[in-house]
Symmetry: D2
Subunit: 325 residues, 4 copies
């Protein structure tokens, strides 16, 4: 198939590459022309502007927008809405809030433009491993785009088949699903990322415990000098906690078991937050997902007002003076 | 009554004072003789050693130990166990783990020495407001010591009586209870402190939210410049969250609304920890009490291994580089 | 002053009463005419409709809306917007989301109608104790309405003055504050309720621990048969955890220490949820407030999908079959 | 090698099998003789008693105890201590608390008996996949037992090697490590299980969110009818949350997407609890691991005292009556 791709950063560039390697024709655009040149060498057609891209594509046109969620994506889609024609398709492959997808689809409907949200997991490894995709779309539009998803997805790979699985549609086993109508793709991806936060925090807390037990601050007879790189490695084999995140942990610790060059500040993105908003809206208890998010908030702060107030109360009732930090 | 008091720090000194003002005779001992001299002027008899104290007391002797929990208390009680006679009473008024109380009482039983655990709340305000006491003891021993507790307790005060309360024993209304057998006093005090951690953290998080909403980092039209001293003050009157901790908060914020001289490191003590151990042992979910404790742990750390590992994983799967702290 | 009050439920009716007792003239309206008749006997003027109320009020008119947040309040304010004139004032005293206040004030601005949000705490006790109020309004409008707030507020009472407090404006000490511009009143009230959830949960967890320690399921030598009504009572006097919520706990336990007639399902309202949304939006860690909310979510559910999935995983990796509930 | 195995349940029986298939000679004992007969057919030598087993083994003897932690293991080791001779080795492969390991090793030392703790992960899949083992032992004892661990472990398998790993000892890559001195094996296994709880709860919360979003209680335009079996399946391929626990989830949902036959009560075992005790002891914040444990506690309870107390307070301050459950 032919499609346009807007935004050729870490994710967009590799999506373009994987599509081209799979035989699709890509018209590429990025604000930063330098970024595009590498792709041109690999076979992409270059469009200097959105208008140029739309001209270069044959109707019905498919445009994959792979930009930061929020303003950049919103502005681009608004511009495309003016340029595209009935029957054309806009795919938002970024990390958009699912309610924004629903709003946009409704706004595009009178123009006859179809909107598709693709939650995409795979990060920097996607070019090699393939992308795991959760798609929100009208059923026919999803089917029409199937060749693209088929190319991007990992496929069966050498993963053991799920025992007892007996579903007529094998696309989930090849790495992509039609999650439901517009919004469903990003909803599922949002929850995916919420879970990701929880998983990461579970490992982080466990390794912190083991590192603390190895601390020279402990009396020698209470201390275990654990080799955390070996622990991560051994858990990869046959243990209940084996996972891709553990593989990455083993990899990080193999090279640098002390992780000293990190500052301890951990960013969070929209999806972790929206997951908690959804939990609050839906009345679902998510203590683990919420606390994982809160841990990241705290990681970026020192000396919070909350903590100072605790000290002030402790002084107030007990005359306690905190020890120096 | 006559009694000995060992440990004349912030708590012990004021307990001695309040008892003397109530007409009791105090024989006082502290490792630091300087501390004792002020009390002597106020009428205390001074004992230079535990042996001297025991000699000075008439049988059956009552000795109130008011020392830091753990080693100092343990060592003193072991020494007293050698010096005291059958029928004598040791009171541990400190913050001892309740299982240690039970162990000690069992060890003293063959010697005929009675053991009493008194959970004491009131902090630096106790001299003035009286002490709230939860006592673990044999029933007869508790009754024998009643005059001491009666003097130390706040009494009815001008607090409104609890509607519907119709208990024959009014000691709870005067500020002390016989919680149960040995250990029960410190158990109840332990839970009291666990709750205290939760309450404090609830206020701290709420005030942090309001402070953050007042932050100059926010665009002006999203910001409220809240006067947190006024908020604390107004909540003292007629609101659902009024409490003594809120009174202390109002007091702290009246003098220093920014709380800038605190470092944000908040200490914790045994009881907050034992409460969570008890919850784990008893299979009771205590997410609020546990998270309040964990917040204090985090307050004293920067750049934890857990957070660095999160960053390492984020780099591993997404090539994310954390922003500077 | 003269004012209209719409909504004469538990809160609105008592607000009307307290205002009339303070010498203000009230024009009252409620969908349910029966509710109004009691107030008429106490001196209220009755308006059968919003239009009738607006006619009955002298310009500039003040109308206090005291209805459930959301649709009922929104619809009433929309109707009032059509009936009122420039210079008139609408007060929303309910539990509205603060961003809705800001939106409404902006919508009313072109009509010259002023909007005021009043966060009101005090519950069923307000008639007697007075209401604690946090007001969001233009400064001049707040000052104009001062006589109303002055009447409704608890006043100084016999509460000890806050040491070190030296603020020129004593309204906080009398029970109401100008929190800031429109929205600020409900924002502060929202955080108030968020804190309330945290405080309540802290007590609940602590009492659960003590009840569990009194359980006959425990071997006798591990059990304390704690009198929880006495514990609550004794903590009211001189302890660090004394509060109004503890007073209410003591009252509930005095009458019914087992609390057997409650089902264990606990409702939550908008403010507890919005507090967590605000925390997520502002990037503030609120583990205690969030977990308190989640505990309520869980209290209303049995046999969740989450728990069933845990069992399914446990069966999957270990062949574990859960014991019967 | 020759060794004795005591306890032939789910774990012990398969460990015996895997060892025999690897060429080791097993003397087997179980309280329940019926259990042993299957193993005898597969080549095990049967010992009717511990004494018989000890006689049957050649010195230096190795005895692997694979019993429930606590009393059964403790009693067996005490008996073995009387029967064994200097130079013999006791292996505890169960889920023992690591401080018990240390205590036992100290008690056995004067007798010249070596003690080894093996944290074993792999559950019912171990026979097929191999067991992941974390061993606490004196270095020479660990090396002496190496052939056993080598047989039991999964080996390299077809797992991708960890990039950047460059450790001289490849045993971690084959599925077992010498974690450290006695106790270190079970310590690492304890943390492993703590992490396991956190991971499981993260998935559980996420799937609950998606199930709730599919609920017919929602208005149709807010609902996504998500196919959770497909979601689990698609995430197995290329997503950040892929893991063995996700594989098991996909398997469970393939057969029974509603999981209706589970009651929602989820058991917990010692290790999840000890992990939190360790966190409290070491002063490490583990909100995710603790909340995962607390969720299990709550899953087994209805109508807790904590929740009833919340309702009582709500009635007290607001006259709120909870809606029926």
């Amino acid at each position: 198939m032919q499609l346009g791709i807007i935004g050729l950063g870490r994710m967009g560039g590799n999506i373009a590459r994987r599509l081209m390697r799979g035989g699709h024709a890509v018209v590429a655009h990025d604000q930063d022309a330098a970024v595009t040149s590498a792709l041109i060498e690999e076979g992409a057609d270059h469009a200097a502007s959105l208008a140029a891209m739309v001209e270069r594509l044959e109707a019905p046109r498919t445009v994959w927008v792979m930009l930061p969620a929020g303003e950049p994506t919103e502005a681009t889609i608004n511009t495309l809405a003016e340029l595209l024609a009935p029957g054309d398709i806009i795919i938002d492959g970024g990390n958009t809030f699912y309610k924004d997808d629903i709003r946009r689809a409704r706004a595009l409907e009178p123009k006859g433009i179809h909107y598709v949200d693709v939650g995409t997991s795979g990060g920097v490894w996607g070019l090699e491993r393939g992308y795991c995709m959760m798609v929100g779309a009208e059923r026919e539009v999803f089917d029409y785009l199937d060749p693209l998803f088929d190319t991007l997805a990992p496929g069966y790979g050498d993963l053991e088949r799920t025992r007892g699985r007996n579903a007529p549609d094998d696309r989930a086993e090849r790495g992509y699903i039609h999650a439901g109508p517009v919004g469903a793709g990003h909803y599922v991806k949002m929850v995916h990322n919420g879970i990701e936060y929880g998983l990461m925090q579970a490992y982080a807390e466990g390794f912190e415990l083991m590192q603390s037990k190895s601390s020279e601050a402990l009396p020698e007879d209470e201390r275990f000098e654990l080799n955390l790189a070996d622990v991560a490695e051994v858990w990869r084999r046959g243990s209940v906690v084996s996972s891709w995140l553990l593989d990455l942990t083993a990899q990080a610790l193999a090279g640098d078991p002390r992780l000293d060059h990190y500052t301890g500040a951990v960013a969070d993105s929209g999806e972790g937050r929206w997951t908690i908003d959804a939990a609050v809206e839906q009345g679902v208890a998510t203590p683990v997902l919420a606390n994982a998010l809160f841990s990241r908030f705290s990681s970026r702060k020192e000396n919070t007002y909350a903590n100072r107030l605790l000290s002030a109360m402790r002084f107030g009732f007990g005359g306690h003076v905190e020890p120096p930090k």
